[in-house]
């Protein structure tokens, strides 16, 4: 099924519906012969093909990681050891987290970046196309190694996705070394991908497009890429130290030799906290593109959106220890990290209010991307507010490592980041495939997802506040009702994602209403000048671009 997408330069392609005319479409010219079949995908340096590969890979990982989550939810459906053994349960929670973070959400956003950034800034491709291919293909290798650990002696990683040492070093399974090497490969992929994105944005914009003219998705990715380059090497450093502790007798995280387990947590969360913004900033960019389109108004407070994104990114470097309030930090450190964390609510609030102000008195219509975006705004705000609760150091002692934390970060990641990715897919699928996504299936997908996701994660707030610890296969009886609800919701959400697959398959097979170049009447941006589906090579010459604020109609 894979080799059918995305469209190759099509002989029958109707070019007449492009607004940009000749400059948007490759006329043959200097492009080299393309290999066909599997080789086409292995060798491709085309940003659209690589973007497609990233997104299909993310979708595959989403289902693998989702299956693991459903195994966890099946075990937790009722109290008692009912379904799997605890050792396997631990591997499932760990692998679910690792795969969703590094295999699903991050690659999905990188895929969107690959597809969209060049066409949004009027570039022919990414700045370093071969590096782009390299970055993508590292991922399948990395995750094959990671998944293979499940079949090794002693099983796969079982210490939680945060792999705290010495639990992961002294007490981890033998396969931990393979896990570390797999993470190294994924990290190299992320760093090189981020370098590519920054070089593309800073260097390949069409003339006249100043930084403050860029679409917000491009802006958020520029800042996200900076975060990636800054923190992925720190992750590489800390897992290297784990590798040495495991295999070469060093004592970085062993107090007996003068090391410190808490050092691991500092290093991990110095990476880990910017990492959670890496998984949400591009989502902000997506929502900032979709809300104005369907509110038929310009985005309220463009500049403040940019500054808010940058502030969130900078603050993310000085908040990491709020993940560690209970490890015995000095009081001054707890206060510092509490206040710095709360500061993040300010720029984040700016963003939410800007979206609402964009909606205010707009001519709103509720197409599929808009539904997902509106759900994002509401649900992400719930996750943000529970984040403010967790930031309060004294009460975090109660919440720490309970299901309240699980509820919090799933609210920002699933009804937040995943919904934004789905919104992006529904929004740009007409541009990618040439046909609109099926509305009936999409509506069913949306409503089942909203109900499923809230049924899964909202009760977790209650079970967490009541004291249910995370990462346990069995629990006290008083948590039974909430857990049963969460499990029902989890299966509902998981199974309803199959509808999304159906939507995508229909789009790939071009079953559906054909989309014009300007697929959404209110949409702005260079990508809507391209025909739908966008030809393989676009913007061989820089397109004409008049910044909104300079356009004659505004004077």
């Amino acid at each position: 099924m894979v080799p059918e997408l995305p469209p190759r330069p099509d002989k029958h392609q109707a070019i007449s519906d492009t607004a940009a005319g000749g400059s948007a479409v490759d006329q043959g010219g200097h492009h080299h012969e393309q290999p066909t079949g599997l080789l086409r995908w292995l060798l491709t340096t085309n940003h659209k093909e690589i973007g497609t590969l990233y997104m299909l890979f993310a979708l595959l990982m989403f289902f693998i990681g989702g299956t693991m989550a459903l195994i966890v939810r099946a075990e937790l459906f009722q109290p008692g050891m009912t379904f799997v053994v605890p050792e396997f349960f631990n591997q499932m929670t760990t692998m679910h987290g690792l795969i969703m973070v590094f295999g699903a959400i991050m690659p999905a956003f990188v895929g969107l970046a690959n597809w969209l950034i060049p066409v949004q800034i009027g570039a022919p491709d990414m700045a370093l196309p071969r590096l782009n291919n390299f970055s993508f293909w590292l991922l399948p290798v990395s995750f094959t190694i990671l998944l293979s650990t499940l079949f090794m002696e002693g099983g796969g990683p079982n210490f939680g996705w945060t792999f705290y040492a010495p639990l992961s070093t002294t007490y981890g399974p033998p396969s931990t070394s393979f896990f570390i090497l797999a993470m190294h490969l994924a990290g190299i992929s992320s760093i090189l991908g981020a370098i590519n994105i920054i070089a593309t944005i800073l260097n390949l914009r069409t003339p006249n497009m100043r930084l403050m003219d860029m679409p917000l998705f491009v802006w958020t990715w520029l800042i996200t890429a900076f975060l990636l380059i800054a923190v992925m090497p720190v992750l590489a450093g800390v897992i290297t130290m784990m590798l040495l502790d495991i295999n070469f007798g060093t004592s970085f995280f062993d107090a007996a030799g003068g090391g410190d387990p808490v050092l691991f947590q500092h290093l991990f969360w110095f990476f880990g906290h910017p990492e959670v913004y890496i998984m949400i900033l591009p989502a902000f960019g997506i929502v900032s593109a979709i809300v104005p389109t369907f509110a038929r108004k310009r985005l309220f407070g463009y500049a403040s959106m940019v500054y808010a994104t940058a502030s969130i990114a900078l603050l993310s470097f000085v908040v990491w220890a709020h993940h560690m309030f209970t490890v015995g930090l000095p009081l001054t450190a707890q206060l510092f990290f509490m206040y710095s964390t709360m500061l993040i609510a300010v720029p984040t609030g700016v963003k939410v209010f800007n979206w609402i102000a964009t909606l205010f008195r707009g001519s709103i219509s509720f197409e599929l991307p808009m539904l997902f975006s509106l759900a994002f705004i509401v649900q992400f705000t719930i996750g943000g507010l529970s984040g403010v609760m967790l930031a309060i150091a004294p009460v975090d002692f109660q919440y720490h490592d309970t299901y309240f934390v699980v509820a919090h970060f799933h609210y920002v990641l699933v009804p937040g980041a995943v919904f934004a990715i789905l919104a992006a897919a529904y929004y740009w699928l007409p541009k990618w495939s040439g046909v609109y996504p099926n509305v009936k299936l999409g509506l069913a997908h949306f409503w089942l997802s909203v109900i499923g996701v809230n049924l899964t994660f909202f009760p977790m707030h209650f079970s967490g506040l009541a004291g249910m610890p995370r990462r346990i296969p069995d629990y006290a009886l008083q948590f039974a009702d909430f857990n049963m609800l969460s499990s029902i919701g989890g299966f509902l959400f998981g199974i309803s994602q199959l509808l999304f697959v159906a939507v995508i398959v229909l789009c790939i097979r071009k079953k559906g209403e054909k989309a014009p170049a300007q697929a959404w009447e209110g949409a702005e941006g260079l990508e809507w000048q391209l025909p739908s589906p966008a030809p393989l090579h676009t913007f061989d010459t820089p397109p004409e671009f008049i910044p909104e604020r300079d356009s004659p109609s505004r004077h």
């Binding site: 290999p35 491709t44 340096t45 570039a123 022919p124 700045a127 370093l128 196309p129 071969r130 291919n133 390299f134 293909w137 590292l138 290798v141 094959t144 190694i145 033998p174 396969s175 070394s177 393979f178 090497l181 797999a182 190294h184 490969l185 370098i195 590519n196 920054i198 070089a199 593309t200 260097n203 390949l204 380059i229 923190v231 090497p233 720190v234 590489a236 450093g237 130290m241 040495l244 070469f248 007798g249 060093t250 004592s251 970085f252 062993d254 107090a255 007996a256 030799g257 003068g258 090391g259 410190d260 808490v262 050092l263 290093l267 110095f270 015995g328 000095p330 009081l331 061989d540 820089p542």
Partner: protein, 286 residues
Amino acid sequence: MSTSSYYVPATSKWPIISVIFLGFLAVGAGMLMTSGSGLIPFLIGFVGTLWVMYGWFMDVFKESQAGLYDAQMDRSFRQGMAWFIFSEVMFFAAFFGTLFYIRVFALPWLDGEGAKGVTALLWPDFVATWPLMTTPDPSIGGPDAIVNPWTLPLINTLLLVASSITLTFAHHALKHQDRKKLINWLVATLVLGGVFLVIQGIEYVHAWTELGLTLQAGIYGATFFLLTGFHGVHVTIGLIILAVMLVRVLKGHFTPDQHFAFEASAWYWHFVDVVWIGLFLFVYVF
């Protein structure tokens, strides 16, 4: 942004081949560490990766010599290299952060300092010192002695600083089309870097066999070898890059206006040099 059309490189087989060999390298390394049996895949991966680097870079050199790269491509390369070095800075920052955290917080807390001092209950007799010669738990054991910074490490510092200067001379010669000077200064840089590595090797053997300073010698040994070891790896990589530059100079690849490969290797070499100064100060001297 004056280009009227963009240059987009052709597809290449090298990325996918290098991914395959990196896979071999990772699996082989994992097998070597867990079961000791992965030497063959590891070697396949290692040799293959070297081959890929040769092939991939040769393609880039050829395209560059053919004049395919425009000013925009040049900027992309520059930005790519600059951000890559930034990522390397953050990689070393993690290790320096480890060193400082251990010295400033972890060890004093183990010794009972701080408001809580609970950690002091683990090993009541432990005394925090740096260098840490006696570890909290005697079963691990610290080093018997540490390397005197004013002997080999000082020489190495002078060597590396000198090599940065000679490389700058070489760069100036390149800009002024003084080919003979360029080759001489570049060779001098390579010699200085090579001698640095030899001395570092001698120091390692000395530390490991005579001073009891090993990877296993508590947190001092661990941080010492972590920082100096990864620096040494980077010096080695830098030397290989510079050697390739020498070959390209001999082939007459560079012009005073267009020699970004040379500049990039110089950036990298200076970065490695700066890291060493941090190492010399905080690992050896203070």
